[in-house]
Symmetry: C2
Subunit: 589 residues, 2 copies
């Protein structure tokens, strides 16, 4: 069972990811250190006590579709109601409509705990949050008045409707259509697939945000508009009116997150679903990207959440399960398997990867906060570029970590890991979606290399490497126990720097295909180097501290430095050398 | 759907793994090249046409237990009967009892295809094969006369009963007990778990091989005996007699291989299950190890089989699914995703890893054959040590590859990969058991480092590195298209050599714990270097050959050399440097 790692989360927020800087800049009131601790404590309590018990029953029962109605697993609706009653859905969102508008960093921390408790549960509110952001930024005052308060409180939930069978990663191929009605509304027709929480029994109404084309729209992504399509129309007094012409036609049978209803949605069986335009006609993609960027961090946090849970369970099992006798074992009986060096190595791996994912996600949240809060334009641009740079890393590297750590968790459990009742297998199944949705990890890597590396002529990224180098230097000068890790980090950053310059040159020289061929290894190289720096930063924060926590953090940084940082040289080599074979391969012949 | 890659398999057997050498030494008749091709062709046909259609229905229905009886999925029993009628179960086994005694290499190739078609199906006969080997080597003439012909034909199936709840990796803790009866038989009592194909409806009888302790046995593994316990007793005329006192009390609900019944077996509810001793009292573990070594290769082949299947499906999907427009695309419409560099890289990865797994498994089979066939004692010792060295590599590296490639296969499918109906997810679930059973991959790595590396004072392993170096040299001298890969392989082998000497020194100096801490990265280092050498060996065999197959093999070798071989330097670093942090970590405090 999940135990919320509140103190490690607080440490990472404050000592590694820069929460203090955000709190110093806050524009909206007094979020104090004490309040932060209280929120984390209470969010962790809710996660562990209320949400975590849902996870297994959710996996077993799944979301069930019958006659167009989706029934959620036993206990799920009650917990959702209790969750929104506690105000948890409203951590973010504008105060004008009841939101607490807390820093993204704090929300990220809470989201980690809810995802550890149950990824399928935390996913629904994540979509609602995205809808709130899109409405706050792009919707008319009328639409905001009608929908925002209920979405922020969680009384209603929101969805994102992008994908169609022929249009997944490539939204150019979108076919859903919208027709203008005389009263200024629109009629929406078409089929959408893979719609997360498209239908459920948590709330009385569901607010669908739907991408569709107007009849006279230009081809491609410049001809896509965004519409708000409520499941039930809303009367002037806010009460629910007629059922809209939208229905759930199917729920997917998935590898994992069984309790999250992944729906096929049909719009316009009859006269068309009534929709309201969000933003301007043909500018829908820009509105949708508002949702998607934060959703990408939220998906990265799913990887983090699953990794934390899998690590906790593997450690508990390894301490409990006895097999063999470890070196130095005295007395009768067998040793806990955690005493064997190969299992210790595996547990260190799991802990280090999880902490790396946490540091990356929180740093991304920090940049998002700073981009909003920083005092001057230049600083806001800097942080906005930093957020843009870290988002593909958080989305893809943390989700790769989720899968890897969940798989190691199965392995630590031995044969029991393959038995569903143990629970380790569920994480392995649940985690597997996160590298896929919200832009596959391959697309994230392409985004990083082709759009983010060139920001400010490469200076944004070079500046980031410079900050990481400062950590390496500090470690190298911090005494014997830090020096080796510092030296190894410096080498890793040299590899990152070499690969970065190679990429920037390739892009500048028009060798785009070569850059694309190396995008995924480049992203991994970035993630490992960044992660190693963050672990070391955390360890340095405990310099001179004799506590077990400080010792553990130093150990993780040393382990990661000696086991993972050397991989960066290999990845750099792959970036600069493998493109030739990749591009010589033509699977189409 | 699966298509048997017969020509690639034949190529790997003959040009990479040394089948010619085995055929030249064969002691038992005329296995010609033509016969080899005919057997591969026919085994592949049976796999693709008869077995492959079982795989999805097996996953959906699973093996179902009711009142102690296990019903296999629809169509499974008929196909099994048709499989044994075709003589496929008798490829191995002594001719005295109807076996064809074909080389292990040929059996490995057939087993790959059956596992690709359905891992859950191929697993049952693998266990029977293990029982046959144990009986051939250790059982009395009487037991052989009674059981071998029926097990070799497949009319009856066999099982291995080792694990108990408290005794998994550590058989010291075994508690099942055996009592001597007056008639020379034994009475067996106890509970066994995780018994693969412990109960099913394929055959009229099931022959359980069971580890248990005699009352006066020494403690630990020196006090374990092996017994044959048939489900039904066998009359003197070979007909089936009374039901023995053994039953299936449960079938596990597993992550994958749902159709393989994983049973809890209860021996001796009443007066004890009647058992016959195999080999000598208290020497049961030695007999069991006869089964386990070949079973380890067979599990490695499961990883290979799943990797091949996942690769085929991902490639087919990537050629079919269209999204986006690749560079150079002309005309209307979208490109197959296989045209995008990141997907091409992924497909190359999957193909290269699969071929590496194939080469390693077949080379292991080659060594097993040569250990039996070689003319003189020294050669047999050499090959026996080689087989012992390659077995943990085949078991663990090929199964890690199975998981990795299956996961990449899900990723290539995008959102569809997470939908169970697509089929990619099943491979990801099925593959996950192989790194666990038959000795976890961690235990394989420990076996490699502590038992296999020191064989002949390390000369066996040094000799192996020398053979791989000859491949690197040949490539470096084979012209421009091979030279770079040859140079990269030489560097990788230098890393392998350095890590090997470090390990041997650590063991010699009594730093056993340090060696154990680095065992898993060492095994991966060995696998990558070995795999890179085998890909290059295959490519060199096509030197001067203008065929597409030869070009593809060179491309895979180049890709692997530029993308994976550099990882060896990082792994060497991990072997020699990470032990300090691993051993400083004490999860018990």
């Amino acid at each position: 069972m999940y135990r919320a790692p509140v103190s490690e989360i607080a440490f990472t927020l404050k000592q590694v990811a820069g929460l203090g800087e955000v709190l110093a800049h806050q524009h909206h009131g007094e979020v104090t250190d004490d309040l932060v601790d209280a929120i984390l404590e209470e969010a962790g309590r809710f996660a562990a006590e209320e949400i975590a018990p849902l996870n297994v029953v959710g996996d077993r029962q799944g979301a069930r579709l019958e006659n167009g109605t989706v029934t959620m697993p036993d206990g799920w609706r009650d917990t959702y109601r209790s969750w929104i009653d506690g105000g948890w859905n409203a951590l973010t969102g504008t105060p004008e409509f009841g939101g607490q508008d807390l820093p993204t960093m704090l929300h990220a921390a809470a989201l980690e705990m809810w995802n550890s408790a149950s990824m399928a549960f935390a996913l629904g509110p994540t979509l609602t949050m995205g809808a709130v952001e899109a409405l706050e930024k792009h919707a008319s005052k009328d639409l905001q008045e009608t929908y925002l308060a209920k979405l922020i409180s969680g009384e209603w939930m929101g969805t994102m409707n992008l994908t169609e069978p022929q249009a997944g990663s490539d939204l150019n191929a979108l076919r859903a259509r919208a027709e203008r009605a005389d009263d200024g509304t629109y009629r929406i027709f078409g089929q959408k697939i893979f719609i997360t929480y498209g239908e459920h029994d948590f709330t009385d109404n569901i607010v669908h945000l739907v991408l569709a084309r107007l009849p006279d729209a230009p081809a491609g992504t410049r001809g896509i508009s965004l519409f708000l399509v409520p499941k039930f129309l809303v009367n002037a007094d806010g009460s629910l009116g007629a059922r809209n012409d939208v229905r759930c036609a199917g729920v997917e049978h998935k590898l994992g997150i069984h309790a999250s209803p992944t729906c096929t949605m049909i719009y316009g069986d009859n006269d068309g679903a009534i929709g309201w335009l969000i933003g301007e006609e043909n500018r829908g993609l820009a509105c949708m990207f508002t949702m998607m960027n934060n959703a990408r961090l939220a998906v990265g946090i799913q990887g983090l959440g699953v990794a934390e849970l899998a690590t906790q369970q593997a450690l508990a099992y390894a301490l409990d399960r006895r097999q063999g006798r470890a070196a130095g074992k005295t007395g009768e009986g067998m040793s806990p398997i955690a005493a064997h060096p190969d299992i210790r190595r595996t547990l260190l791996d799991m802990q280090a990867w999880t902490q790396v994912a946490r540091a990356i996600c929180y740093a991304n949240a920090h940049a998002i906060d700073m981009a909003r809060l920083a005092g001057d334009e230049a600083a806001r641009t800097h942080w906005s570029e930093r957020a843009a740079t870290l988002t593909p890393l958080a989305k893809s590297f943390a989700t790769d970590i989720g899968v890897e750590v969940a798989s190691l968790g199965v392995q630590v459990h031995g044969g029991m890991g393959f038995i569903e009742e143990t629970g380790a297998a569920q994480h392995y199944r649940d985690a597997r979606i996160a590298p896929i949705y919200e832009g596959t990890n391959g697309i994230q890597a392409i985004d990083l290399v082709t759009r983010k590396l060139p920001l400010s002529g490469g200076e944004q990224f070079r500046g980031l490497i410079g900050e990481l180098s400062a950590v390496a230097e500090a470690a190298s000068e911090a005494g014997a126990e830090f020096a080796d890790a510092g030296d190894r980090l410096a080498k890793a950053l040299a590899s990152l720097s070499d690969a970065t310059e190679w990429m920037l040159t390739a892009l500048a020289d028009g060798r785009q295909q070569e850059a694309l061929a190396g995008a995924t290894p480049f992203l991994r190289l970035f993630g490992i180097a960044y992660g190693g720096a963050m672990l070391l930063k955390g360890a340095l924060a405990g310099r001179g501290d004799a506590s077990p926590d400080a010792a553990r953090r130093l150990l993780l940084a040393r382990y990661f430095a000696t086991s993972r940082l050397a991989e960066t040289a290999s990845l750099k080599e792959q970036v600069v050398s493998a493109a030739s074979a990749v591009l010589d391969y033509d699977p189409l012949v």
